[in-house]
């Protein structure tokens, strides 16, 4: 199992979510975050001075998925979350050691 963390634009979230669902990737945990990438946010101009706005609202999606699905998920997020301009976001993949449900005591890793 892997934990895929995708940090994307809030305005792309609906699209990404729908696309993931269409491909059967349903389980996800979503957090409102702020972030900056290498561009150090957005540099507004103000009276000639640059006024950087370095923390921009983003949506963080965490999905625990089968190893085999990682590439699929990444390409869905990319396909639907992209505008091509800086700030589109990142995807990180982390190893997961085990997962389980709260609803039942049966561990059924295959489930999710």
């Amino acid at each position: 199992m892997k934990l895929v963390i995708a940090v994307i634009r809030p305005e792309k979230f609906e699209l990404v979510k729908k696309a993931l669902e269409a491909e059967g990737v349903v389980g996800m945990t979503v957090t409102e975050v702020k972030g900056r990438g290498e561009q150090k946010g957005i540099a507004l101009q103000f009276r000639g001075r640059a006024m950087p706005v370095d923390l921009i609202p983003k949506i963080k999606i965490e999905m625990v998925i089968e190893d085999a699905d990682v590439d699929k998920v990444i390409s869905i997020v990319r396909a639907n979350g992209r505008t091509g301009r800086p700030g589109d976001g990142r995807i990180f993949v982390l190893p997961v050691e085990s997962i389980c449900r709260v609803r039942t005591d049966l561990d059924d890793p295959a489930e999710s």
């Binding site: 305005e11 507004l44 921009i56």
Partner: protein, 398 residues
Amino acid sequence: MALDSGDTAFILICTALVMLMTPGVGFFYGGLVRRKNLISMVALSFVALSMVTLQWVFFGYSLAFGPDISGIIGSFTFIGLEGVGTTGDGIPDLLFMVFQMAFAAIALAIVTSAVAERVKLSAFIVFGLLWTTLIYDPIAHWVWGGGWAAQMGIVDFAGGIVIHISAGFSALALALVIGKRVGFGQYSMDPHNIPMTLLGGALLWFGWFGFNAGSALAANGLAVNAFVVTNISAASGALAWMGASWVRGKPSSLGMISGAIAGLGAITPAAGFVGPLAAIVIGTVSGVLCYYALLFRMRKGLDESLDAWAIHGVGGFWGTLSIGIFAIASIGGVSGLIAGVGEQFLLQAFGAVTVMVFSFVGTYIIARFVDALMGLRVSEDEEYVGLDISQHGESIQV
């Protein structure tokens, strides 16, 4: 006639209520935009209030209510409030001036709907000054200041033409010039803070009593009639919009409050001319009509973002016509179709259409001018970051 303390007390307080409506518009609108533009939206309403106050003192009041020049505009007689004193007929002239000031302020605040989430603050200030001077003041003069419309017999009790048609159709023109918000139609721009909109709506509903009843300019039976029909029309509009939208899906609270505003806008011109039962019809029709106007606006992909056109423009238009239908002479001295008189309806229609065209065209020209002059719109990056930060350097930390 001497001053009457009761009338003076009434109009003083009504003026305060109308003043509260301008921030009320700000909160109403503020809840409807995305979080990153809330402060900006409320701030625009305060800017409108402040700017119009000074413009009105300097020359706006004189343009609107100064001695008539050929039915077109007021003269500069009252410039700097020269000669506008604390004596008068029932209420002091100065009180009439400040009551009308509150109307001028809210009209501009309504127009901010069109530029929500993308206007440059500096450009709005320039636009606002031009708009209130070149669009609002003349219209106020025509209808209330003894201009051609008044001379013809067109009536408008509390501002259906002067405020709602003018602001609504101006917003439409302005929206066309400034263009859609980035992403409009592509992704959801759902209102982020409905409770704030409901709060603004509550303040508007409350203030509207001052707006309409105060337009009787006295604490008399006419004011009471206006007060009563105002509440009835608001309630009818709220339930009608709620009902109409319930048929298609969930009855949103936003629909309900929008319907209330639609009902309030529609009864505004008619409040001194029609009775309670007519108010039910006026409000109900307005609720449904404005709801369909909104659906139409969305279908057309028009980003008149917060629906000043669909609600104030369309509601005010309908209300202006409704006088020609429901007016009863015993209430306000004017008779409509139902009383068997057709003339008033034609007058009202003529007034409504003329002001609609004037507002739309005039605002279009002003907006194009300001856009050419300095750009109406913030840069794409500023829009993305939001106007709170980009125009005011502020943000909400909650």
